[in-house]
Amino acid sequence: MAALLEIKDLVTAFHTSKGRLPAVDGVSLSIERGQTLGLVGESGCGKSVTAMSTLRLVASPGRIESGSILFTTEGESIDLVSASEKQLRNVRGGRIGMIFQEPMTSLNPVFTIGDQIAEVVQLHRRVTRSEARTRALEMLHLVRVADPEQRLDAYPHQLSGGMRQRVMIAIALACEPDLIIADEPTTALDVTIQAQILDLLGDLRSRLGTAVLLITHDLGVVAETCDSVAVMYAGKIVEQASAAELFRHPLHPYTIGLLQSRPDIDNRDSGPLATIPGMVPPPQDFPSGCRFHPRCSYATVPQCSSEAPLLREVIPGHFVRCHFAEEINL
């Protein structure tokens, strides 16, 4: 059976006065039914654009230039890249739900949250207003909002950030989608609320069997919730493996750097945290060869700056984009 979502060689570029900026440059991902895939990377490496491209929500001047996004549900496959606007509208919110980074601004300030949950139900199901409202109440129960009967008629500004993110989750899940794309769902929340929201997502996932594409820069979140992980750098996937494998054997220097730059609770006296020098280059000045080589501590040979490495399966199920993957593996 085909994977639920199969992204192949996706290229999304922005056409600006600085020229063509490929924010996503040949990304391939696949998500199985019920699975959680973590997409990790620093700010500006193309994670969110990948997510937006999946639902064709990239705003002008951005454009999907090539690649395919095959979404298979109920025995039917649709290529979201070439799908009509009408087909897309059915998929958006109906088959694929999306949770955004900013719960504070992602809800419309002039409608009650009950209306907003009911709206998505009415858009995708043939239901009456009162049925949609009942469904909205059900969803608020499901995402564990306190006093759902009263909250139904509350306006977004009357709720806290955590509450609003729960409402966003309720909206994303209201039509029982096959896939949820969560674009840094916990970034804007404080740590205790983060944990609650992640617990909730994990719980709902196992209860409803929804697959999740979790976009985050927080490796801790990935370790807790994901089945497999893809690490993105400068518009490309640099490493992909199951979560357990990736944390045990990181093979790409970038992944290693990311893992080392996290505090280690068992070893508090290990001195200052390691950092990766420099920043993610903006698309207009991607370096030649391996895009990570200017920041890489392993890049010693000229090959790194001249020849772009390919994504290779170094260990079965473990893909790495590095010339030295084998040496690092030793």
Binding site: R89, N90, R92, M98, F100, L107, E119, M168
Partner: protein, 368 residues
């Protein structure tokens, strides 16, 4: 400890919910005495406009005639709303004597002031009252509060009935202008690109033409001017400011996360424009509409004054001013309608300004 946290939670839950946008704006608006005064005047004018035939007229508000109850005063709003029986019985618009003569059992409730906005009240029409004075004798007096014009038609009655027309002009033409402006601005602002290019240029072209000249040109083309055509003309020329503001609001709001979230939920462009963005853009758009009502009343006044307004029987404030043009010695023909237009326009402008200050947080900060 457990007990304590519970009580804290309860305390938070029982606090009353914070206010919505409009009730918050109302709280702010209420604190401005001038704004409230202006709003009071607007409400007063609206009441006068709605009950004009009951305030001044020669047709009974309610009457019983040959066993039936009628409301002849509605004939002032629309000819056909006056029961046909009065035409059949040859009342010819004179009710007091006819009612008495043709049915001794009849009774009637009369308007507060027995004067007609369209014709001179004749001798003994109201038992024992002289005919309306005309020309130089038409000073304001006991029966003609604001005097009479050169034909002896009561100015107070004209003013009262003119209120209906003034407000109708304001609301209908601004309703039209608002609809066109919001539609054009919404389409341009939401779709952007070449669509925006076209709508913006269209707006600018309409804006470039001096409104009064354009209106006069249109009036010249339109056959048989009526008050409705005047409203339509004011409406189709007065939408540019609203279109620009709406466009700006849409340009800003279409970038917001909640619009992206609505798209991600599968909403189509029309739904996003009118259900998600428009309610958020309404407050800033409402302000120019309020100002627009004032300017529409003013434009209608100028048109009627220049003689391009609705034809004579229509009792608009501007046409009273127009009749003063050839009778400048009759000062009451200038003062009362002039004051009426001035106060109404002032009231609407003050309401608009108050609304602006109550809804625009930036302006609020600047005042502090």
């Amino acid at each position: 400890m457990k007990q304590q946290t519970n009580s804290v939670i309860e305390e938070i839950d029982t606090t009353k919910p914070s206010q919505g946008f409009w009730s918050d704006a109302w709280q702010r608006y209420r604190c401005r005495p001038i704004g409230m005064l202006a709003l009071g005047l607007v409400v007063f004018l609206t009441i006068v406009a709605l009950f004009a035939p009951a305030i001044a007229g020669t047709k009974p508000v309610v009457c019983q005639y040959k066993g039936n109850i009628y409301f002849p005063c509605l004939g002032y709003f629309n000819r056909s709303w006056e029961a046909p029986i009065f035409t059949k019985d040859k009342f010819r618009g004179t009710y007091p004597t006819n009612l008495e003569q043709k049915d001794s059992q009849s009774w009637a409730v009369w308007p507060l002031i027995f004067q007609d906005p369209y014709r001179r009240v004749r001798e003994n029409e109201w038992p024992g009252r002289r005919a309306n004075p005309s020309r130089d004798e038409g000073h304001p007096n006991r029966f003609n509060l604001f005097g009479t014009d050169q034909y002896g038609v009561d100015i107070f009655a004209k003013m009262v009935h003119g209120t209906t027309i003034a407000l109708l002009v304001g609301f209908v033409s601004m309703g039209l202008a608002g609809s066109i402006g919001v539609l054009v601005g919404a389409i341009g602002g939401y779709f952007g690109g070449w669509v925006d290019m076209i709508t913006s240029r269209l707006t600018e072209i309409v804006m470039c033409v001096p409104t009064l000249v354009l209106i006069l040109a249109l009036v010249a083309v339109v056959e048989k001017p009526t008050i409705w055509k005047t409203m339509a003309i004011i409406g189709v020329t007065g939408w540019t400011g609203i279109a620009r503001l709406t466009r700006a609001e849409f340009l800003r709001l279409r970038q917001t996360e909640f619009v992206m979230a609505a798209r991600a939920a599968g909403a189509g462009p029309l739904r996003i424009m009118f259900r998600h963005i428009l309610p958020n853009a309404l407050a800033p758009v409402l302000v120019p509409i309020t100002f627009g009502i004032a300017s529409a009343i003013l434009v209608e006044g100028s048109l009627s004054f220049l003689g391009f307004g609705p034809p004579p029987p229509t009792a608009s404030w501007g046409s009273v001013l127009n009749s003063a043009r050839s009778n400048l010695q009759l000062w009451w023909l200038v003062v009362f309608p002039g004051a009426g237009i001035f106060l109404t326009v002032l009231a609407y402008n003050l309401v608009g300004e108050g609304l602006q200050e109550a809804t625009d947080p930036r302006l609020r900060e600047a005042k502090k």
